[in-house]
Amino acid sequence: MRRPIKPWFEKEISGCSLTGFINEDGRRVNGEAIIQSIGLMNERSNGLGGGFAGYGIYPEMKDFYAFHIMYEDAQAKEEAEKVLNEFLLIEIQEKIPTRKTKGIPHPPLLMRYFLKVDENRLYDLEISEDDYIVHIVMKINSQIKGAYIFSSGKNMGAFKAVGFPDEVGRFYRLEEYQGYTWIAHGRFPTNTPGWWGGAHPFTLLDFAVVHNGEISSYGINKRYLEMFGYQCTLKTDTEVMAYLFDLLLRRHQLPIEVACKALAPPTWEEIEHKGEEMEWVKALRIIYGSVLVNGPFAILLSHKNGLIGLNDRIKLRPLVAARKGNTLYIASEEAGIREICSSPDKVWAPKAGEPTIGWLKEDRQNEFESPRTRISDREKPQSVYSVPGVC
């Protein structure tokens, strides 16, 4: 039986394992380590979904948006490609290389496209390139039956499937890619037989989220996002996470630390106790009450410049971090880290609601991406996008 790629139910629930690391010096390593780390935690997943995201994997094509798309059939492909051809310039289109893997029967059609935006179009529409891409991703994912874009960033890619995560990694031949940041996820859905699109990570542009948890505030997070034009088509918590970060970081121009505080804010008591220096946190809670992600979660959020681990406000899901030299590791279990880094300099459990952040060193940032983003001051809260864009 072929697994579906889109959901057919209202909301799904799942538990999970996650792991990730960033080489802050920009050193690129192949996907072998991340497969081993997530593979060790197979016990936390049930073979109904696994996925990866790697950064720095398409250095030759770093100025092009890399779309990874799954199709249920040829007709979906035809329709989606019609949209791509109409709105974007396709540089390369090809099948995503895979190998036959025992645990992953009947994959859908998996394609990747390297795309550019026609600048005249942006000029006419008066929107930023990123916003334009977001529109197209939303359009195809919500309107074309049987087509689903699961990766849309530059010089990065997401890979996901129904299966155990280590099998998924082998299936996509990840040992052939070189990246400076990798994240991975193993899924334990409790109420669905598994579907391709529902595997993690969820991505939008170069943001990727892997997530362990259930968002009890899903109903309001979703309605809040709808006010800003996001359509939560996949009905999973993680999609909501990805869009919340996109809204706060890209559209509202908030630094990552501030965005994390919106998702997992301190209690009112804490805010009051700290007094004036927390004035902005109070305002943050008042303004972004509907952004508060309530319920148990541990997430890894990666983007081209960094890796962030975050827990819910009372830490109801596991998350461990470790550091060795220039590499920051974050995973569900310490064992997942020790599997690929036997003697870390430091291992710790991040506190509830406080982000653990790894940043790509400044001098390496230009190398991997277009010059749009610069982060100047390492001590102060940092904006992922420091150039004001159009919302």
């Binding site: 109903g219 309605r223 809040y224 305002a283 309530n294 319920g295 009372i314």
Partner: protein
């Protein structure tokens, strides 16, 4: 004892026969005599004497015709709509977590009910140039509530001074607000100003600079759920010395509130009044606009937000009143559940939901009703009748007579002193604390620890016994799905 307790003169003492005579036709069913009878000798039961059964010509319909045939007048009544319309709260069920997300124990973990009411900016803007992060622009004024429940507008005049004082003191103790209604503010209560919402209504009674300056927020009253489209009438007998001073009208004259505000004939006029009040208070207080829930509430609410309202108060058709024509109370307006659901949805569709908070009112009976309203999209709930009941009201619906035996809806000095403000304050505080505890338990059960995660979270609700259309309007799924 019973003879003295009944302001409706239901009991009388005949010294010749040394007997107490009770006239059941005068009984309003307030239970005052029953509650206070030292020998437990009294009981009040419905009189079995009735008309011949008739599905159309019920005793209620027949008696009303008798009354009107005698007087030629409009039938008056008090409190909220008592007709057996569906109560949609009773058709909504709340969720709880099992296994995949843990429920949270409010006795062990923080559980937050704090709510801020007022206009919010769309996004946070910070100044990064300094050592610590600073807000670029200060937030618009907000009301801070420790629990999402406020005391609804009840004027000094409709209710007694002691009742007003109790509400004010309870609001202060609870960290919430009470609302003056359009009765002005008695000078003794100015000290509770930071917990007071003052009303500016069509009669403009008692509105002056100090009144506005003292309050935490100002509410423009356009309409009331118990009598949409109708003004108010406080009979001259109730306008005693203190009330005349507070309302700034001559003693003994009828206090007539016109149906419309005579300077608001359109949405642009409302905007002028909102900004006149904002100017007068130098933009330091949120301005609320209260309307009755009617058929096109969503469009009206959207206009109100665009006209500058920071808070929208929606009063459903079960909302109470001191006095209203019965035909209006029982037949005009729509249930608050539908009004709330459609207003919240409309404001979201227009992307302006953050510009105003929504307070709903109209017959909230318990903490479950409150929780369900918040899940449908309300920021907070006004309670009127429930707070009166906490003070001792037995819902006999005779508020308009001024003869309240419980000392609540009366200005009669003899009756008024029956309400002890110390005790009434404590009972109000108890009620809200009890409801807050229950809301915390329900939140914890759902696996969330802050009220903002329930607000507008309609996935926390399921409908039972509702039609598809009703479910669609409420924006909830049926139970089982």
């Amino acid at each position: 004892m019973c003879v003295r307790q009944c302001a409706f003169k239901g009991h009388s003492y005949d010294p010749e026969t040394d007997e107490v005579i009770s006239k059941e036709e005068l009984c309003v069913g307030c239970h005052r005599c029953v509650t206070l009878c030292p020998t437990n000798a009294l009981t009040v039961r419905q009189n079995p004497l009735d008309f011949r059964p008739n599905g159309n010509w019920t005793p209620w319909a027949i008696r009303n015709i008798f009354k009107q045939a005698e007087t030629g007048g409009v039938l008056l009544t008090g409190m909220g709509n008592d007709r057996p319309y569906p109560v949609y709260w009773d058709h909504l069920l709340l969720n709880a977590s099992q296994v995949t997300n843990p429920s949270i124990d409010p006795l062990r973990e923080p559980m937050e009910l704090r709510t801020y009411l007022g206009r919010k900016p769309k996004k946070l803007e910070l100044d990064y140039t300094q050592e610590t992060l600073k807000l670029k622009t200060p937030l618009p004024p907000q009301l801070k509530l420790e629990t999402p429940i406020l005391f609804s507008a009840m004027s000094y005049g409709a209710i007694s001074y002691n009742a007003c004082e109790s509400l004010a003191r309870a609001a202060e103790k609870l960290g919430t607000y009470y609302n003056t209604g359009e009765g002005g503010l008695h000078p003794n209560l100015y000290k509770y100003g930071k917990n007071t919402i003052v009303q500016v209504a069509s009669g403009r009674f008692g509105v002056h600079k100090e009144y506005l300056d003292t309050a935490a927020a100002i509410e423009i009253k356009i309409g009331q759920g118990a009598k949409p489209g109708i003004g108010g009438h406080l009979p001259g007998e109730k306008v005693v010395e203190d009330i005349s001073k507070t309302r700034m009208i001559p003693k003994g004259t009828d206090a007539l509130s016109p149906a419309p505000q005579h300077d608001i004939y359109s949405i642009e006029d409302l905007r002028m009044l909102i900004f006149a009040l904002k100017e007068a208070t130098r933009y330091t207080k949120p301005i609320s606009v209260k309307i009755a829930a009617v058929h096109n509430s969503p469009a009206i609410a959207s206009g109100m937000v665009r006209a500058g309202a920071d808070i929208i108060a929606l009063d459903g058709f079960r909302g109470g009143t001191g006095a209203s024509p019965m035909v209006i109370r029982d037949n005009v307006g729509i249930p608050i559940e539908f009004a709330l659901a459609s207003v919240d949805q409309r404001l979201r569709e227009e992307g302006i939901r953050h510009q105003a908070s929504i307070i709903v009112a109209g017959g909230f009976r318990n903490s479950a009703d409150v929780s369900k309203a918040i899940a449908l999209g309300a920021d907070a709930v006004y309670i009127g009748t429930a707070s009166l009941i906490a003070m001792g009201c037995h819902v006999c619906q005779k508020c308009y007579t001024g003869k309240c035996n419980w000392g609540i809806a009366t200005q009669d000095p003899y009756l008024e002193k029956r309400l002890n403000p110390d005790i009434a304050t404590e009972r109000l505080v108890n009620l809200i604390n009890a409801w807050s505890h229950e809301i915390k338990e329900m939140l914890g059960g759902m696996g969330i620890n802050a009220i903002e995660s329930l607000r507008g979270n309609r996935l926390a609700l399921r409908g039972i016994g509702l039609t598809d259309t009703e479910l669609e309007i409420l924006g909830v799924l049926p139970a089982g799905r």
